[in-house]
Amino acid sequence: MSDITIDGETVAATAGDNLGALLHRLGDARLRATLSGAPRGLFCGMGTCFDCVVLVDGKPARACLTAIRPGMVVERQGGQP
């Protein structure tokens, strides 16, 4: 297990696992909110739809295409322009 940070909280995770799947489990499918405040979760799961964009170490990234790295800092909001 390796720790990562999600919205300021330390979460135990396995390096190499998929970040989108982890956020799906942690948030009971809820992942972020849109500009209008609507909740969104994973949708396409394969990099097509951009519904799962979060900030990883300060940069926008699709969670569904991101492998977990130890020490990674994830913010669920702010990945979308």
Binding site: G16, D17, N18, G20, A21, H24, R25, G27, D28, A29, R30, L31, T34, L35, S36, A38, P39, R40, G41, L42, F43, C44, G45, M46, G47, T48, C49, F50, D51, V53, K59, P60, C64, L65, A67, Q80
Partner: protein, 465 residues
């Protein structure tokens, strides 16, 4: 600043069955081949490779994909993983991003094998967390050991629903309903009966879903999903004789925590569109797809070949056969003496794909009626059906016009998510022909990429760089 430039004989975009078989054939003919794929491991959809290797109900498929990948590597193919192509010019030059770095290829020939993505039509509630594509549910279960939900409804049209229903059941989901728009499975079963060579495969497909037979609802569509901040219930309706949902024949399924909905697949044409490749339209082949010469895989642009779902959705077997044909043709274009591939094997595989296509009936009319005025059609920009209808009333008549008027299709997905739904909605409410509605025009970069990566990639591609 970090950019890698590679000059080679052949660049393959996409590492699914089509791209891998093209790469293998071209490398065997003596060409230097570089293959770029977006995912962590090659294999594409049909041959996706879980980190744990070939286990579980799909182990034969995973193992077959593993063998193809190993053969391609052994033949000298260089595979670039996590490499997302965002730009291309017909010189040809291919621009990709690998993390924060740029990768630029200057090949003599290109094979486009970008596959397809799930095709979803909008309906009230489709943006709720827990509503996903069947492809997303499959990846969660198969690659990431995560259930999309515990109590799952699968809905849409096509054989893929059965594949995913069987996989999710095996993974431990309670599959509450499989809502298939086609009126009955008769045409499918009769079609399979006419193809004895595929009986083994059909049996492997049908056996895992047989225990779910009582959960199937044929001739029905999902009309709405509801829940506060998460899908909780799903309403389905039978399709009437007019092809529209019959509001009197409704059923509401409660205590749902995942709804996976898809009506087949849409070819991923953004990259070849940047190259100027001509497209055709056939709603039953997934909509817009690349126009090719079946004997060689040649697109309308010299030196650019294509194979697989991007040339019209047909499944893994045609993708494999067409990949070999396109890989060999690309090698010949690059100056190597190469054969032509087995056109008859491709024809046989396409024959079965056509049977499947005819056995299923996507309820295009019904789908075009599902959105309410406040239903979001463009997920990226949150553009609703009323706004799109107003733009049409103001004179917007095609995908490009709707995009300029409303921003629908202008977000990061570049219309891959909304194009199908916009076309259906305007066909049904305004009588526009979905073919004439057109494809969302590709723009460079085809995917959101940091400007520094774009600049590095362009600089690396210049002559003498």
């Amino acid at each position: 600043m970090s950019a890698t430039r590679i000059d080679c004989d052949i660049c393959i975009v996409g590492g699914g069955p089509a791209g891998l078989s093209a790469a293998l054939a071209a490398a065997k003919a003596g060409a230097t081949v570089h293959l770029l794929d977006l995912f962590e491991r090659p294999g594409g959809q049909y041959f996706m490779q879980p980190a744990a290797g070939a286990h579980g109900p799909a182990r034969r498929q995973i193992a077959a994909g593993g063998r193809l990948i190993a053969a391609a590597r052994a033949a000298g193919v260089t595979v670039h993983e996590n490499a997302e192509v965002f730009g291309a010019y017909a010189d040809p030059v291919i621009y990709a991003r690998v993390g924060e770095s740029a990768l630029t290829l200057r090949p003599k020939a290109v094979v486009i094998a970008t596959g397809a993505h799930d095709r979803v039509a909008p309906f009230p509630g489709w943006t709720l967390p827990g509503v996903m594509t069947p492809g997303a549910g499959q990846r969660l279960a198969k690659l990431h050991g995560t259930l999309p939900g515990r109590r799952v409804v699968l809905a849409g049209c096509g054989p893929f629903l059965m594949v995913v229903a069987g996989q999710l059941r095996a993974a431990g989901c309670d599959v509450l309903r499989v809502v298939e728009a086609t009126p009955s499975p008769r045409a499918l079963l009769a079609g399979i009966a006419r193809h004895p060579a595929r009986w083994g495969e059909a049996l492997r497909l049908l056996t895992p879903v047989a225990p779910l037979a009582g959960r199937f609802r044929f001739g029905a569509v999902v009309t709405a999903a509801a829940g506060d901040d998460h899908v909780r219930s799903v309403t389905i309706a039978r399709l009437g004789a007019d092809g529209l949902p019959d509001e009197r024949a409704r059923e509401t399924i409660a205590d749902v925590d995942a709804l996976l909905v898809g009506h087949g697949f849409r070819p991923s044409i953004e990259v070849p569109r940047l190259l100027g490749c001509a497209i055709d339209f056939d709603q039953d082949a997934g909509g817009h797809h690349l126009r090719i010469d079946r004997a060689t895989g040649a697109t309308s642009v010299p030196g650019i070949f294509a194979a697989g779902e991007v040339t019209g959705v047909a499944g893994a077997r045609p993708a494999l056969a067409a990949g070999t044909i396109a890989g060999l043709a690309a090698a010949r274009h690059a100056g190597f003496a190469a054969g032509k591939g087995d056109e008859r094997a491709l024809a046989r595989a396409l024959d079965f794909a056509l049977m499947l296509r005819r056995a299923y009936r996507v309820p295009y009319r019904a789908l075009g009626r599902l959105p309410r005025p406040e239903t979001v059609l463009c997920r990226c920009e949150e553009i609703d059906a009323a706004t799109v209808a107003a733009a049409h009333a103001d004179g917007a008549r095609d995908a490009a016009g709707i995009k300029l008027w409303t921003r629908a299709g202008m977000g990061p997905c570049q219309g891959r998510g909304c194009g199908f739904g916009l076309g259906l909605q305007l066909a049904e409410t305004a009588g526009l022909d979905p073919a004439a509605f057109g494809a969302n025009p590709s723009r460079f970069p085809a995917r959101p990429v940091p400007l520094s990566v774009v600049a590095d990639a362009l600089a690396a591609g210049e002559d003498g760089a």
